[in-house]
């Protein structure tokens, strides 16, 4: 039965190879089903192995299956072998179990994606690497899996690599993890130098031979490795960005499995931890506790549905570190398993929401989805109750166990750890309640106008107003020109009248001068008449021109008034249009009224109006339902009421070698702590309810800008590595170019110079070579003869 173990990592590996070769031909959904079957096969193989372990007694549940010798170099030898014990099988069970559900879910989620087969090939490779990580029987094999999951994480975060932001997020995750991997390698060297072996069997059985200092150093280095992979302070920055990948990846890799491998590693090495100084365990616990609190404060102010869950994951991983640090290994694994259930559930639920809302991730644009997505909504609520620590859901039992162990811890500030854990629990309940309310309850805000859309509409209106002013000004300019022209006309008419008058005068003089009887007289009189008539005409024209000028002036006045009016309209329109995008929380009751600006809104608004949020297909909801059941009932794994109900604790005992901390708290204390935890959770839920449903108090008072920016850690890193850090890198780079490369170049040129010097001895004439050989031989002969005679 236990012999089936080799199938566990092999089946997904076969799936990966098959999909790499034939995935494209298989297409959608065939490739997805092949991958799901490979993962399900691994789950079945794990179950069979699990059965095999159950059939033997506790201490015998430790089995090494050697497949082949991997590396053989002198006394250093590494086998590719599997270590099958309760710890590795527990990990394998939830990796393959949750993994299979997420494979199934992805068939629905990745529907229509061009990289469908590629995605499933990566998922299978990830499952393989993760299983090698947990099943490997030595540190190097674990490291192989460790790097394998890192590579898969990189590939899947930047799965949609055409978007530079996704590619950058992938690189960030990879580079940040390298810092931790460096710690892993050094720790491995420390262990090898102490034991001359990196097999877990040797580490476990001969842990006493590790010196205290060496063990402490190894624990610190392993903590660095685990902090990288499990996103703890100060290396957590990559995990929120990792949400750029497809949501099933966030659920599988960045919430349920890979990020827990740091905790697994520390648990696996519990004999080394037991050997180390107490303060190094305190370091583990405090790193965890502070990360838990730190990430929880950030989660309170996030508006992206996946980022809330990302910071929540960082926070919950902190809890796991806290548990390991205080010696609560069972509690850590217990919470790891329940967290895998409910966090995978929450992530898949958020994926279902995102899928149903046409890739909308902003919670400010959600609300009221419970009616539209009943299955997603219901299962999400189960996940919320589990993570918020509401009894009897799974999270309550595991979280309480960790708090109890923290309270119990001696010498490393246990009470302080407990207090930090409790505040974290309070914040967790608060931000998860906030998320559930904003996403599933209240008014549906999906169709609301967005601030950018409103800005665009206002901009459109302002542009129309500006155009009106320009038009009015153009009309006025035209009127002014017309008026000027009319004035010019008037002057001309005046001149014409003057001319006509002078003509009359001249004609009158002529008439007076001439004789009445004169023949010319009559003509002159006629001319006078004509001139007089011309004067009359000119006077009439003058009057008309005068009128025209008056009319034109009036028009100019009117046009000026129109311009002023348009200007006033333009100035006022900003104030006149009373449409704003309300704070998303106050929008719970009423939608912003956009009637005034509706026709100016951009096309995206109208397109969204046409789109109706919908529930996801069965391949997505079935995993949700199964995970919801697990999240609700997971507490059964390890009930604290009596020793026999401590299933997980009893099961894991053979992997812990009695290094689990002993609980000294009395039953009364235990009950008291549980009641305090429940009360705190209830208070947080009530507070969130008050704030986001009842609308009492201002959400802005908790959603601080600094929290939304994650305490500016990212920016500080960026400015440090961009500024003083860069100078350091430049220095190192200069050292490399000048000193290291310089040494190489100097020796190269020395050879070159020597070669040039020797060149003349090689003329290419065969006979001169023959002469040299002959002379050399002769010289040797003479020397021999000399010795012979002497």
């Amino acid at each position: 039965m236990v012999e089936a173990a080799w199938l566990i990592p092999t089946l997904p590996l076969a799936g990966f190879i098959f999909l790499v070769l034939f995935g494209r031909k298989l297409g959608e959904p065939g490739a997805g089903w092949v991958a799901t079957l490979a993962s399900a096969g691994a789950f079945v193989a794990t179950l069979v192995t699990f059965g095999g372990l159950l059939s033997v007694e506790g201490p015998e549940r430790f089995h090494v299956q050697t497949l082949f010798t991997w590396i053989q170099s002198g006394s250093f030898s590494v086998d590719a072998g599997l270590l099958i014990d309760p710890l590795s099988i527990t990990m394998s069970l939830f990796i393959t179990g949750v993994g299979t559900l997420i494979h199934l879910y992805s068939i629905g989620y990745m529907h229509g994606d061009a990289g469908f087969a590629r995605f499933f090939a990566y998922l299978n490779l990830f499952i393989t690497s993760m299983l090698i990580l947990v099943l490997g029987d030595n540190l190097l094999l674990t490291f192989l899996g460790w790097e394998g999951v890192g590579a898969c994480s990189y590939l899947l975060i930047s799965f949609w690599f055409t978007d530079p932001a996704n590619a950058t997020a992938g690189k960030k995750a990879f580079v940040t993890n390298r810092v931790g991997d460096f710690g892993f390698m050094l720790a491995m060297f420390v262990i090898f130098s102490e034991l001359s072996s990196i097999r877990y069997t040797d580490i476990i059985t001969r842990s006493g031979e590790i010196g205290t200092t060496a063990a402490t150093v190894a624990v610190a280095l392993f903590l660095l490795a685990a902090a990288g992979k499990s996103a703890q302070l100060p290396l957590f920055v990559w995990l929120p960005d990792a949400m750029a990948g497809p949501t099933p990846v966030s659920a599988l890799i960045h919430a349920a499995t890979m990020v827990t491998s740091g905790v697994f590693l520390l648990t696996r090495l519990n004999p080394v931890l037991a050997q180390a100084e107490t303060w190094s365990l305190g370091l583990v616990a405090w790193v965890g506790a502070l990360t838990a609190l730190f990430a929880a404060t950030i989660a309170v102010a996030q508006t992206d549905i996946k980022r809330v869950l990302a910071y929540s994951t960082v926070s919950q991983l902190g809890y796991l570190f806290l548990a390991v640090g205080v010696g609560g290994y069972v509690a850590a694994i217990f919470h790891m398993v329940t967290h895998a259930f409910f966090k995978a559930l929450l992530f898949l639920g958020s994926g279902s929401v995102i899928h149903g809302l046409n890739d909308e991730q902003d919670m400010r644009r959600m609300g009221g989805l419970y009616k539209l997505m009943p299955v997603t909504g219901f299962t999400f609520i189960v996940g919320w109750l589990a993570i918020a620590g509401v009894p009897p859901f799974a999270g309550f039992w595991s979280k309480d166990e960790i708090l109890l162990y923290a309270w119990n811890a001696d010498g490393i500030g246990g009470k302080g750890l407990w207090a930090v854990g409790l505040v974290t629990a309070l914040l967790t309940a608060f931000y998860m309640t906030r998320q559930v309310i904003l996403t599933f309850f209240g008014r549906s805000r999906f169709h609301d106008v967005t601030a950018p859309e409103l800005d665009e509409a206002l901009e459109n209106i302002a542009a129309a107003n500006r155009q009106a002013v320009i038009d009015a000004e153009a009309a006025r300019d035209k009127a002014v020109v017309a008026a000027e022209k009319a004035s010019g006309d008037l002057v001309k008419r005046n001149e014409a009248l003057d001319k006509a008058k002078s003509k009359v005068e001249a004609a009158t003089v002529d008439v007076a001068r001439s004789d009445d009887a004169d023949e010319g007289h009559a003509k002159l009189v006629k001319a006078l008449d004509r001139a007089t008539q011309a004067v009359t005409k000119a006077s009439d024209a003058l009057v008309k021109a005068n009128n025209a000028v008056d009319a034109a002036k009036e028009l100019v006045v009117e046009a000026n008034a129109a311009v002023e009016q348009a200007q006033r309209d333009a100035d006022n329109s900003g104030n006149a249009i009373n449409v704003t995008v309300p704070h998303y929380v106050t929008a719970v009751t009423a939608a912003p009224d956009v009637a005034e600006v509706e026709q100016h809104l951009p096309a995206s608004y109208r397109e969204r109006k046409e789109y109706h949020p919908h529930e996801s297909p069965w391949t997505m909801t079935v995993p949700l339902i199964i995970l919801a059941a697990a999240a609700a009932l997971g507490g059964v794994l390890n009930l604290p009421f009596n020793h026999d109900l401590h299933f997980l604790g009893n099961w894991l005992a053979p992997s812990l070698f009695g290094h689990e901390a002993e609980l000294t708290a009395s039953a009364g204390t235990k009950w008291l702590l549980a009641v305090v935890a429940i009360t705190v959770g209830g208070v947080a839920i009530a507070a969130a309810f008050n704030l986001y449903v009842k609308g009492r108090g201002k959400p802005a008072s908790v959603e601080k800008r600094i929290l939304a920016d994650a305490w500016k850690v990212d920016q500080s890193y960026a400015s440090f590595f961009g500024g003083p850090g860069r100078a350091l890198f430049n220095l190192a780079s200069a050292f490399d170019r000048k000193v290291v490369d310089g040494a190489v170049r100097v020796s190269a040129s020395a050879v070159n110079i020597a070669g040039r010097a020797m060149k003349s001895t090689q003329p290419g004439f065969v006979r001169s070579y023959a002469w040299l050989v002959a002379l050399g031989t002769a010289a040797v002969l003479v020397w021999f003869l000399g010795r012979l005679l002497a």
Partner: protein, 101 residues
């Protein structure tokens, strides 16, 4: 007059000198090649002579090795000479300076 081992050694020395001088003063690759063969066989002769002097079979064994190596050398060397002559029929050894440093 009895033919002693010394005669063989003297002959060997003479043959070797003829070969060496030929190698150094002649300019025709083929002749130089034959001179090399002459030197090889001169040393073979002294091997056999010494083998007789010391009554040791090792000297004759060495001759076999020399013969085998010489045969191989003839194969390679003659092919090179023939190939060279095809490209430059009138070439002397001094013309073949492609390996000049």
């Amino acid at each position: 007059m009895e033919v002693t081992q010394t005669w063989y050694l003297v002959l060997s020395a003479m043959l070797f000198s003829v070969g060496l001088v030929g190698l150094l003063i002649r300019n025709n690759p083929l002749v130089m090649f034959m001179c090399v063969e002459l030197m090889l066989n001169a040393s073979n002769l002294s091997f056999v002579a010494f083998s007789g002097v010391y009554n040791d079979i090792a000297g004759q064994t060495a001759v076999f090795f020399v013969l085998v190596v010489a045969a191989a050398e003839v194969v390679v060397g003659l092919s090179i000479v023939v190939a060279l002559m095809r490209i430059r029929p009138a070439a002397t050894a001094d013309d073949l300076t492609a390996l000049k440093g």
